[in-house]
Amino acid sequence: MTLTGDGLQPSEFAVTAARAVAECTALSLREQARHLANDGLLGVIAAQDVGGLDLPLAFAVPVVAASGSGLLGFPLIEALLVGRALQESLPRAAEAVVSGEMLATIAWQGGVGAEREGESVVLNGWVARAACASEADCLLVRIGTGAAVLVPTDGEGVVVEDATGLDLTVPEHAVRLQGVTIPAASVLPESTWNLLCSDANVLRAAAILGSADACLTLAQEHASTRRQFGRALSYNQAIRHALARQKLGLEGIRHAITRSVGGEAGALQRDAAFLAAGVYGSAIGEGALQIHGGMGFTWDVPVHRHLRRVRALQAQGDASGVLAALGRRYVGAIAPVADTAVSG
């Protein structure tokens, strides 16, 4: 891994990212892509050959966290990961994604069958949870157990269904592929998908951290300014304790992510960061909504949008599947007690 050769720190990206995210508010998806690319944000983890900065995943964390707290309506996690995933096999396409010319997304759920026909591959299947697929130029889709393939969304046989799900700013689509023919060169190697998913879950945790942070700040502000019974809400211990628990959850997410991108981290730490983010992040969003009372149900208060996103990200990374698999792996790795066992 290259790291901080020129003294860069992940936190330095937070400020740039927060500003860029704020500036994206009124822009179209394509304008956002170019704007984020101009600040170098889409290529944080992509190779320099394709216009990226070639930094470790830790540097994408503050960028994605800023996109969460600013409720960026752009498939940022996907752009970051697709740019890097394509850099070896399809460097041109990678460059287009990193420079913001091409809008890329990933269908996180489902996979397709692929049949080779000469220099082409024919795809059939049904995939889902593809953020902003209706506007994207291309879509990364899983084939079989671990390979992936890049599919242009305007190709014949590609049908993008109407958006479903809770997150309205980054709508998720299901996509049908019926006899879609693409060049064999668009198929990425077998290891691609697992790496994508593992990194995506760290970045989802980061996005949730950003949203949860924003929710807690809103709840804190509301508790200090809203008055009932002649006092600020924050006077009441029940409210103070609820906010304190939210703070505990927030710091738990933050520290777990830091740990998951540290030198000795592996799959366990990554899964833990994602799962902790899902559980605490939802609790913080729901808690913030509760503290806002009726105010939280007015559309203008953004807490609901954060909560929608947190829940969508949790499902997108298949939190319950990851949790059960983690438990099963953990149990599986431990041998039964032997007769004379001592720990250690």
Binding site: S234, L243, A244, E251, G252, A256, L323, L326, A341, S343
Partner: protein, 403 residues
């Protein structure tokens, strides 16, 4: 057996080591020297007697596993906080009993290092590490638990001596201790935080009476301590008379953030033991292989990983020279509640074993029943859950309390 025969002290050799080499040396030493009978996950488990504990802990100290960061002039090993963390990770990996002198090593020691005189450091610190002085903590009183600032035990100064009168309660381990870290009032009760001082009181001093209380686990682990005109020399007063509260707060911050830093790794040891025990019983093996418990056990794994993240962050902050302050409450709140969730699940699982349960399950039951009961105290001592939430709200979130 009262003397633990350990392999020749490797401290001299280990002193040269750092980082991972130090870890390996500590792990090897523990493997070679920790008696199986001290480990609650062993079929041979027989809780050590007090003299056994004392000589075992003295041996651990000589091997480099206590006083890790304390300066060498006071008997410490002068190592870094990172190495302290490494040692704790290794200690946590074994199901060994908790120190009988954790108050001395983890509370009294650090406070003496912070506010003690040079003479006090030289007198008290080596005695703690060598296990000549076991300490207890005399803060709580029958009328002052969460509201520590309302404590009534009085200390009145007359020249070079103080006279202490009052009563402490829930003083863990007082029956076996030589010294008590006493927080007492030197000013009027209305002053609350001001006018509190800390003392190192000898428990064999005239006028001290220790009465054990039977506790939830059936053992007599904590005590009432009565002070009836107890004379304490000024040389045993810790810090300036009015600084007692500040010193107490500092002690408690340490207690919450870094005390028993091995907890996260011990917790992992407990979870692994639980699973290993379950897998040696056909009924439980099937249960833990199923979806329901995969999810529940997965949640505990996440709890443990998050706890490690809290601990490592705290160590990182301290290494950077930050004071840990109120952030210690975050780790305390998390471990105390997570450990209770774990203990309840362990009981639930083990209750479903085959009949008759295999020996491994019986060993586990004995251990986890004790853990379950002890864990109920973890949301109470070192400041209750409600007090931690209050600290986070006041000092971290700085929520307004005014009108």
């Amino acid at each position: 057996m009262t003397v633990i025969e350990t392999e020749p002290p490797e401290a001299a050799a280990a002193a040269e080591l750092s980082g991972e080499a130090y870890r390996v040396a500590m792990r090897r030493w523990l493997r070679a020297n920790l008696p199986a009978s001290f480990c609650s996950d062993s079929a041979a488990f027989l809780p050590p007697t007090l003299p056994q504990s004392i000589s075992w802990e003295a041996a651990m100290y000589r091997a480099g596993l206590a006083g890790i960061t304390w300066p060498q002039v006071y008997g410490g090993h002068g190592r870094t906080l990172r190495e302290h963390l490494i040692a704790n990770q290794e200690i946590g990996a074994f199901a060994m009993p908790e120190s009988v002198n954790s108050i001395g090593k983890e509370l009294a020691g650090p406070i003496i290092l912070a506010v003690g005189t040079e003479e006090q450091k030289r007198r008290f610190l080596p005695a703690i590490l060598e296990m000549r002085d076991i300490w207890c903590q005399g803060f709580s009183e029958p009328e002052a638990g969460s509201d520590l600032a309302s404590l009534r035990t009085r200390a009145i100064r007359n020249g070079d001596t103080w006279r202490i009168n009052g009563q402490k309660i829930w003083t863990s381990g007082a029956y076996r201790a030589q010294r008590c870290l006493v927080l007492a009032r030197t000013g009027p009760l209305e002053d609350r935080h001001r006018g509190l001082a800390m003392f190192a009181v000898r428990l064999d001093a005239k006028g001290v009476r220790v009465r054990p209380i039977k506790s939830i686990d059936g053992r007599e682990s904590f005590c009432e301590v009565f002070f009836d005109d107890v004379e304490v020399l000024q040389s045993d007063a810790l810090g300036a008379p009015d600084e007692g509260w500040a010193a107490a707060i500092r002690v408690l911050e340490i207690e919450r953030a870094t005390n028993r830093m091995y907890r996260a790794w011990r917790f992992e040891n407990e979870l692994r033991h639980l699973i290993a025990a379950c897998k040696s019983d056909p009924v439980l093996a099937q249960l833990v292989a199923g979806h329901h418990y995969a999810v529940k056990l997965g949640e505990l794994v996440v709890d443990i990983e998050v706890l490690k993240a809290h601990v490592e962050t705290a160590v990182g902050a301290l290494v950077n020279g930050d004071r840990i302050g109120a952030r210690g409450s975050l780790a305390k709140l998390h471990w105390s509640e997570a450990h209770q969730r774990f203990a309840a699940l362990a009981l639930e699982l083990l209750a479903q074993a085959s009949l008759p349960p295999p020996p491994a399950v019986q060993v586990a039951r004995r251990r986890f029943e004790a853990i379950y009961l002890q864990a109920r105290a973890e949301t109470i001592y070192a400041g209750t859950t409600e007090i931690q939430l209050g600290i986070i709200a006041d000092r971290i979130l700085q929520l307004s309390r005014g009108k």
